[in-house]
């Protein structure tokens, strides 16, 4: 009996610890998000949240629905593999409501050199020019049709 009395304070301590543990478990049950652990050690809802973010680029397939005529020209030319928004910018809003958002035509003086200005690190087979020597300040669109840019013999516009 006296042995227990001498260890009584330890029993009280153990009791206090048990209370803290229970409180912790209650806090856990309340604060852990409900979808946590559904598919792994993360909040399951995060997946749906991520995939419902807004889209800025519509994707070329969407453009082709309305602009089939441009597609005909592009398909046959050197820019067949270049998607519309790569030059025309993000147009998901335009695709959704064509009337409300009218895209601006890109400025070819700035746009074309981004890809075609000569640079030692570009693949040798890629068409590139030193723009100053090539066109001497003339805007690219003057001679080249952006949707099918390779000039054919007798094609030169003045």
């Amino acid at each position: 009996m006296s042995k227990f009395k001498d260890a009584e304070h330890l029993v009280r301590l153990a009791g206090a610890c048990a209370v803290v543990l229970v409180l912790f478990l209650l806090v856990r049950a309340h604060f852990i998000p409900k979808s946590f652990g559904q598919y792994g050690h993360f909040r399951g809802d995060a997946l749906a949240e991520q995939s419902s973010k807004t889209i800025s680029y519509a994707g070329h397939k969407v453009c082709e629905d309305c602009h089939a005529d441009v597609l005909e020209v592009k398909k046959a030319g050197k820019h067949a593999g270049v998607n519309c928004e790569a030059c025309h910018g993000p147009l998901a809003k335009h695709a959704e409501d064509p009337g409300s958002v009218v895209p601006q035509l890109p400025d070819t003086a700035v746009l074309c050199v981004r890809c075609h200005e000569e640079n030692i690190a570009k693949p040798k087979t890629f068409p590139q020019v030193v723009s100053k020597e090539h066109s001497g300040g003339t805007v690219c669109k003057t001679c080249h049709v952006p949707h099918s840019p390779l000039l054919q013999p007798g094609d030169k516009k003045s």
Binding site: S2, K3, K5, D6, A7, E8, H9, L10, R12, L13, A16, C17, F24, V27, R28, F31, I32, F36, G37, H41
Partner: protein, 390 residues
């Protein structure tokens, strides 16, 4: 942010992720582990000479342990979400598991041991004080006022077991911090199995030095004489631990130089430039070699008491600075070079910001204030209930 970059760094690497606060944090937890190991020297290994510092070491450990989470909270992008680490800890994350190691160490080791060792005084104080103080001490007694021979013997036995468990727990506490860095395979300055071991031994060195300095300072403040046998013994243990710590660090360095893998050129460059002062001068020469040689000298030759006290004070201070430099070199140093091994960035330490110099200094001084308060609440020297002077 215009940070000077030499060579090439991945664009997202230019800004350092872990600031000086993440240097303070392992430094502080290291002091905790080291102070506790010193306390256990007397309790478990019966090194009677260091008994005068037993309670002081425990209270020092507690003071620093309480401050340890603060640099982390100040560093987090969302400190209000930090509870998530306890609610949904990711078991593969050393950082998450460390939260529990910390809690275990705080509750089941340090607080428990202090409570068991001080229970006698706590009960007496709960009966002799009045007002708020009485309430406080009474709460600490957990409602039990049994301080009979039998009860105190129980406290002693249980306390002994707690200290015994506390030693591997202290190793776990700071070894874990070492593992948080040592397990990052992306960073070759950190990734090493030696990292937890180096951290443990440097922690012991810094903790022992801190208790040595605190003890000497306390005796000075209380105008009492310093127990030379005590400080001589502490200095000896400091020396032994230092030799192991230095050996480990030199092993790491020699291994790196010899193997010279792809990261070596970057690390070598850092050591000769950005980290020269903090690593070579502060950490190695002033922080390790000088204390080892000095205390080593004292073991071999007869040095008068006054000179020994001065030497211990200087060496203790150099040690603490050196170990802080070591944490700096690991944490900041590890982020100064690019993971492409082609470039280097600079650490911009602001003076006044949430993770700036002032905050770091404040966090390093705060434990001393907490210790002062603890010394008042739980005086380590029971024969002097009312401190002289203060």
């Amino acid at each position: 942010m215009m940070v000077p970059v030499e060579g090439f760094m991945y664009p997202n690497e230019v800004e350092l992720q872990w600031s000086v606060l993440i240097v303070v944090y392992p430094f502080v937890t290291g002091l905790v582990a080291g102070a506790f190991i010193l306390a256990s020297l007397e309790r478990i290994f019966h090194v009677v000479a260091v008994k005068p510092t037993y309670r002081l070491a425990l209270l020092t450990a507690l003071a620093f342990l309480l401050v340890a989470p603060l640099p982390l909270q100040l560093h987090l992008g969302h400190p209000e979400r930090s509870l998530e680490m306890f609610l949904t800890p990711h078991k593969t994350s050393a950082m998450a598991m460390f939260g529990f190691v910390y809690l275990w160490y705080l509750m089941a080791v340090v607080l428990l041991e202090i409570w068991l060792d001080y229970r006698h005084e706590i009960v007496l104080l709960s009966q002799s004080t009045t007002g708020l103080k009485r309430l406080f001490y009474s709460a600490l007694t957990l409602g039990s006022s049994n301080i009979s021979e039998g009860a105190l013997r129980v406290d002693d036995r249980v306390g002994w077991v707690v200290t015994l468990i506390g030693i591997p727990s202290a190793f776990l506490l700071h070894g874990y911090v070492g593992f948080i860095f040592g397990s990052v395979k992306a960073n070759p300055w950190w990734s090493s199995p030696l990292m937890p071991v180096v951290f443990i031994f440097s922690a012991m060195v810094s903790g022992i030095a801190t208790v040595l300095l605190v003890y000497m300072a306390m005796m000075k403040i209380r105008k009492q004489s310093i127990d030379m046998r005590c400080v001589d013994t502490i200095a000896q243990y400091l020396l032994y631990t230092f030799i192991i710590d230095f050996g480990l660090e030199m092993l790491d360095l020699i291994h790196r130089i010899y193997e010279a893998d792809e990261s070596f050129r970057s690390l070598d460059f850092l050591l000769h430039t950005k980290l020269f002062f903090s690593q070579v001068i502060l950490q190695i020469v002033l922080g390790t070699v000088v204390p080892i040689l000095t205390i080593g000298f004292i073991q071999i030759f007869n040095v008068p008491e006054k000179l020994r006290r001065l030497a211990y004070g200087v060496c203790g201070s150099l040690t603490i600075i050196g170990i802080f430099a070591m944490r700096w070199n690991v944490v900041i140093g590890g982020q100064l070079f690019s993971k492409s091994f082609l470039g280097y960035t600079t650490y911009k330490l602001d003076l006044i910001s949430r993770e700036g110099e002032l905050v770091a200094v404040a966090l390093l001084i705060l434990p001393l204030f907490i210790l002062a308060a603890l010394l008042r609440i739980l005086p380590p020297w029971p024969e002097r209930q009312t401190p002289v002077g203060n």
